[in-house]
């Protein structure tokens, strides 16, 4: 089985249906294989399941706004309309409404509010459940010095 987590110096995200490539420290991934992104990490599909790639730098298209935001590249609200924050309950309804430019703009605005943790694409429960096995030990509580 492949490792569930790998680190690269650089990840290049392409909008085309690009064949994934790994060359030493660099990984090329197709936008449509990304489930989720955060500063320094993307979760992508591979034939045997979800893999988390961590990286020092990400190159990605200017047009992939939600991904840019998730990665932390949209730093202020200039690229997203300002919106009233909606509940986790309301956000779910927004996520299943049809994908129009208005809906995507609203999602972008909510992303500014709630942080870059909204999935870019829905992940089947079965696929997520197949990441690892058993019950990992609870993460210890964090504490300041």
């Amino acid at each position: 089985m492949s490792a569930l987590r790998r680190h690269y110096t650089r990840i290049i995200v392409c909008t085309e249906d690009t064949a994934p490539a790994r060359d030493g420290d660099v990984a090329i991934v197709a936008l449509n294989t990304i489930w989720h992104a955060e500063p320094g990490a993307v979760w992508i599909s591979e034939p045997d399941g979800i893999v988390e790639l961590t990286c020092d730098h990400v190159d990605l298209p200017e047009t992939a706004l939600r991904l840019r935001q998730a990665i932390g590249l949209v730093q202020d609200t200039t690229e997203a309309p300002i919106a009233e924050r909606i509940d986790p309950f309301g956000l779910a309804s927004l996520l299943d409404s049809p994908a129009t430019p208005e809906r995507d703009a609203q999602l972008l605005a909510q992303g500014q509010e709630i942080g870059p943790v909204a999935f870019l694409r829905a992940i089947p429960v079965a696929r997520l459940a197949a990441y690892g096995t058993g019950q990992p030990p609870p993460r210890p509580r964090q504490e300041e010095p």
Binding site: E38, G134, R139
Partner: protein
């Protein structure tokens, strides 16, 4: 300028509930929120209103808070979307059932009747969406859930209506005690004077305590949650498991909210969080094992919020031993949403030196300074 009667540090649900109760009693109240109200744990909560499985010292508070949840419409002008759906803790094995039996025996010994044990057939009849293998469960029929951000905003509005001032974007960065008043230094260089202070700074409660020279071991977590796409209705209650962390509910629109314990990584400096895929995956496995209906569903959203947590997982409620006009109301972890309508009133009473209506010694800010400390809870406490 005339000093305030009370300054509340933190515009989460705890702080806003305190402001509401204080202003209602006629106090001149100011809430200082560093960011925006509801921006942290209170706006990100799963909204579980749960008395089930509480640590023993919390039980009397949780039960009285639940009574307030049923009256919120009258009290603050908004029912906050509270649904008394019931909460259920499912037993997956005979060992789990024994844990639940012991729990019920412990509660009965203390005179509490609100958690009721059900055997396998009875729980399967009550929760038909649960996997047929469940061995039984514990039910708190009056529990339920509400909408977290709406609740936080509603308490904020009610506090303002009662006369409180709320300032967003103002952080408290220092404190001095001068002539029986607190002088709080603010991030913009200005200061405010007040007779009493309530520290309701959530996960930042320890930092804020240090501004006053107090110290307690308050840590923090990035509690993670997931939401599925909308599914046909299959469960009405909020469900948890006995020996695995889980909080599971289906909203009126059909989305299923899954959480109850998995943690990501929080950064207190930036207020940002990172998800932990391995622990989310474990949570997805628990939910899938107990609820077959979600096996073919997809998760549309995951998020995490920064919550405080004390080593014994119960909050800090009480006066500072250094200054009676300094009150702590922080350290609430995955179950602080439910308590807030009542704990805000308790903090308001403490700040105004009114008589205490509830036993709060177990929540003392000094409890970890004392040499031996016994465990306070009988069950793992999931969020929700």
């Amino acid at each position: 300028m005339k000093p305030y009667d009370l300054v509340v540090i933190g515009g989460g649900l705890q702080g806003l509930s305190t402001a509401f109760w204080s202003a209602r009693e006629g106090a001149r109240v100011l809430v200082l929120e560093r960011d925006r109200i509801g921006r942290h744990a209170s706006g990100f909560s799963a909204g579980g209103v749960r008395t089930l499985g509480r640590a023993l010292p919390e039980v009397p508070l949780a039960l009285d808070a639940l009574d307030l949840w049923t009256q919120l419409d009258k009290l603050i002008g908004d029912d906050c979307g509270f649904v008394a759906s019931g909460q259920v803790k499912l037993a997956e094995t005979p060992d789990d059932m024994r844990i639940l039996e012991q729990r019920v025996a412990l509660l009965r010994a203390h005179g509490f009747e609100h958690e009721v044990l059900h055997d396998g057939p009875s729980i399967r009849a009550l929760v038909p969406g649960a996997d047929p293998s469940v061995a039984g469960g514990l039910v708190a029929a009056r529990d339920g859930y509400a909408e977290p951000y709406r609740t936080t905003r509603a308490f904020g509005r009610a506090a303002m209506k009662a006369g409180a001032d709320i300032r967003e974007g103002w952080a408290v960065v220092g404190a001095d005690h001068v002539k029986n008043l607190w002088k709080l230094r603010l991030s913009d260089g200005s200061d405010v004077r007040t007779r009493a202070v309530v520290n309701a700074a959530g996960a930042w409660g320890r930092r804020t305590a240090r501004l006053f020279g107090d110290e307690f071991p308050l840590g923090f977590n990035a509690l993670m949650m997931m939401l599925t796409e909308a599914l046909p209705p299959f469960i009405t209650q909020v469900a948890g498991a006995t020996s695995r962390p889980l909080s599971f509910k289906q909203t009126a629109q059909g989305h299923v909210m899954i959480g109850g314990g998995p943690k990501g990584i929080a950064d207190l400096h930036t207020g940002r969080v990172r998800l932990d895929i391995a622990r989310l995956a474990a949570s997805a496995r628990t939910a899938r094992d107990l609820f077959p209906a979600i096996r073919h569903a997809a998760i549309v959203h995951a998020w995490a919020g920064i919550e405080a947590i004390m080593p014994d997982e119960i909050p800090v409620i009480g006066r500072s031993s250094r200054a009676p006009d300094l009150v702590y109301l922080c350290g609430f972890s995955g179950h602080g949403f439910e308590l807030a309508p009542l704990t805000g009133r308790i903090a308001a009473d403490l700040a105004a030196e009114r008589d205490m209506t509830h036993p709060i010694a177990a929540f003392s800010p000094d409890r970890f300074a004392q040499p031996s400390r016994s465990a306070t809870h009988a069950m793992p406490q999931p969020a929700g």
